[in-house]
């Protein structure tokens, strides 16, 4: 008999894991505009095979396995050389995940991000708005800010690094 997952359980898993799974897919080098497509496929797989997940395996771990496979499939559509390069990067990033502390990949990360974002200086928030809200490329942002594209990329790198520090602290204090 076809056992479909109880709606509440499925929905709550999506709600609780989606931010991590989407970031996890991005963390393997999948371009931002394709991350959500792959993430949706991950949850369709969850829906299809919900009753086959071993009880001892946490859903998030199972989802990460599916996400890794679907991301590799995604890169297999590219040319052979590119495919090998992208697969090498996935391998590097997965090893980096295993060898480093969980930091921003565990816990209520979105709530922590919201809090840290509010603490950013107005200039940093403006920069993030231009990049992520208006989705402008670095060159266009640089023209608006009378700067260079590389300076914009460096500034974004620093803002993300400071956000990561803040989120790690916030999550550590919640765990502690």
């Amino acid at each position: 008999m076809d056992e479909r997952p109880p709606a509440l359980d499925f929905d709550s898993i999506v709600r609780e894991t989606q931010a991590h799974i989407r970031a996890y897919i991005a963390g393997m080098g999948v371009p931002r505009h394709d991350v959500d497509d792959i993430a949706q496929d991950v949850y369709v797989e969850l829906y299809r095979f919900f009753d086959r997940i071993p009880p001892e395996v946490p859903p998030k771990q199972w989802l990460k396995g599916i996400a890794r496979n679907l991301s590799l499939n995604y890169f297999r559509r590219t040319s052979r050389r590119q495919r090998l390069q992208r697969e090498a990067l996935v391998e590097i990033f997965l090893r980096a995940e295993q060898e480093t502390a969980p930091a921003v990949s565990e816990g209520p990360v979105r709530r922590a991000l919201d809090g840290c974002y509010e603490k950013l200086a107005p200039d940093s928030r403006r920069l993030l708005s231009l990049r992520y809200e208006q989705e402008l490329p670095s060159q266009t942002i640089a023209e608006r800010l009378k700067s260079t594209a590389e300076a914009v990329r460096v500034a974004l790198f620093r803002v993300r690094a400071s956000l990561k520090q803040c989120i790690s602290k916030s999550l550590a204090s919640e765990r502690g």
Binding site: I25, R32, Y43, A96, R110, L128, L136, E143, E150, R160
Partner: protein, 527 residues
């Protein structure tokens, strides 16, 4: 060098060449700590996009949609299989009455049933399907028709557009269509566009043979929405874009999101992001440019734009000829003229706008030339005087002006002072046929002058031409730029002014059409 590679990779995963990617991989293998830091940057990059990008903020709803699509596909397949199984079982039962119980007969029938089930499944994928509703009409202007297989029907509000039907929009007409997922499409005049969906995935497919299309695309759960033109393919997941297709080129303007733009027969892919524009022809791809209005400032001597703010006022600037830079210039409201609340549009309400400074700066840049273009975007008040009312003028003493655009009832009149005193004002209608003045939308009006010829354009299309004008602009006099009245405050015009561009060159038909469409697109985005 490695830092720069990391920054560029973070900026765009496809930005690095194969050689650079090899270099980055070697570097990350050698320094695992850098790999960990880069991975964390990737995670933060996506978390920020999840938080801030509009099209990524409702992910659970997108999953629900995907699950619903999956369920619907499963149910349809289950129903087909059940029906065929019953049919096959009935066929298997029947032989008892006519052929005994031969095992090979049952075997053949079972095999036939399996082939039948498989056949129906594949037929559903590959054989022509019955037409089904793809979009619905929400608004129509002009005699728009739907066409398929030599049959044609008139488009009407609430009518369904079926898969494979071509929408034909006549010049001056337009149609608004809406998909079930709230994706909207607007087609402008002289367009031929066919709508369909991919039968396997349900993803949206649009073929534009000619004309202009503006689409606001909701996040696409069934796969990217694909627009095909005679020159290129634009692939979209959720965004707002405009495609203008002529015989020679496809122009793509993106105001939100990201579009993959690929020229037909070309392996290279351009990614056109928000506020950018791309052009593909049969022969070439042109570099992606920033989407701006006006598209080019070449020859622009005066610019008033409600799309851009300067000190909380509409951007108003004149060109300084020595440096070719633009300097903000005053525009003084007189009487009841004021900004429309919440906008950068001047509402004149019986008052007018006045600038001595602009008049002085513009004069030497146009005097003696033999060409110019005036573009004005405005919305007249519902009731207007039938006597001439000045929309915009330069050195206008009430009797004559260097140049003046006036409204007389539903007509517009453009006059220009040249050394040839016989020049006649050019008169043309403000309105499209049967368009009521009281509900007129903001209009883009342009008039060009070159080599003794005046040409007037309404909404990007030519509406009048005069070959009687002649001479250069040598007889121009000093005087202020005025909007909504002459320089004495007389000949008052009532309405709203959105933009004015005065250029020292004659813009081409294509440039004027582009300007009209770009302003419309960018102003809609700012609402």
């Amino acid at each position: 060098m490695s830092d720069e590679l990391i920054h560029r990779y973070l900026d765009d995963r496809s930005a690095l060449s194969e050689g650079e990617l090899d270099e980055l991989i070697a570097h990350l293998r050698a320094e695992p700590a850098r790999a960990a830091a880069l991975r964390e940057q990737l995670l933060l990059d996506d978390l920020l996009a999840q938080k801030l990008a509009v099209d990524r903020q409702n992910f659970p709803a997108q999953v629900d949609q995907r699950i619903a699509d999956f369920q619907r596909g499963q149910e349809e397949l289950d129903a087909q299989v059940t029906e065929l199984r019953q049919l096959a079982e009935a066929e298997i039962d029947r032989p008892r009455t006519w052929s005994g119980t031969s095992p090979w007969v049952k075997y053949v029938l079972a095999l036939s049933a399996a082939v039948l089930i498989g056949g129906v499944f594949f037929a559903s994928q590959w054989l022509p399907a019955q037409p089904y509703t793809v979009l619905k009409v929400s608004k129509v202007e002009g005699n728009v028709t739907f066409q398929q297989g030599g049959q044609s029907s008139a488009a009407a509000v609430h009518a369904a557009l079926l898969s494979g039907q071509q929408v034909n929009v006549p010049a001056g007409g337009s149609i608004d269509l809406v998909y079930q997922d709230a994706t909207t499409v607007w087609l402008g005049g002289d367009a031929a566009v066919t709508f369909d969906t991919d039968r396997a995935t349900g993803a949206k497919r649009v073929r534009i043979d000619r004309g202009e299309l503006i689409a606001s695309v909701a996040p696409q759960a069934a796969g990217p929405m694909v627009f095909t033109t005679p020159h290129a393919v634009a692939t979209v997941r959720g965004t707002k874009l405009r495609l203008a297709v002529t015989e020679t080129e496809t122009l793509l303007d993106v105001t939100k999101g990201l579009v993959d733009f690929q020229r037909l027969g070309d392996q290279n892919l351009q990614q056109v992001a928000a506020s950018q524009s791309g052009i593909a022809t049969s022969e070439a791809f042109f570099p992606v440019q920033a989407l701006a209005w006006p598209a080019s400032r070449e020859g622009v001597v005066y610019l008033l734009s409600s799309l851009e703010a300067a000190d909380d006022l509409p951007y108003t600037a004149v060109r300084i000829p020595d440096t070719n830079n633009y300097l903000l210039t005053e525009l003084l409201p007189r009487g009841a003229a004021q900004l429309r609340p919440g906008t950068l549009q001047w509402e004149l309400s019986g008052g007018h706008l006045y600038s001595d400074e602009a008049g002085q700066d513009v004069l030497p840049q146009l005097t003696g030339r033999d060409e110019l273009t005036l573009e004005v975007i405005f919305q007249p008040a519902a009731s207007v005087a039938t006597s001439p009312a000045r929309i915009v003028a330069l050195a206008d003493d009430g009797e004559s002006a260097n140049l003046a655009l006036s409204q007389e009832g539903s007509d517009l009149v453009f006059s220009l002072r040249t050394e040839d005193e016989t020049i006649k004002p050019l008169r043309f209608s403000l309105l499209v046929a049967n368009e009521p003045l009281e509900s007129v939308r903001p209009k883009h009006i342009a008039v060009t002058h070159r080599a003794g010829e005046l040409v007037a354009y309404r909404s990007g299309a030519e509406v009048a031409r005069s070959r009687l004008a002649g001479g250069t602009l040598a007889e121009w006099r000093g005087g202020p730029l005025t909007i909504g009245a002459d320089s004495r405050g007389q000949r008052v015009w009532r309405g709203r002014v959105l933009a004015i561009v005065l250029s020292s060159r004659c813009l081409s038909v294509a440039e004027i059409a582009r300007s009209e469409a770009s302003f419309r697109l960018l102003s809609a985005e700012r609402k």
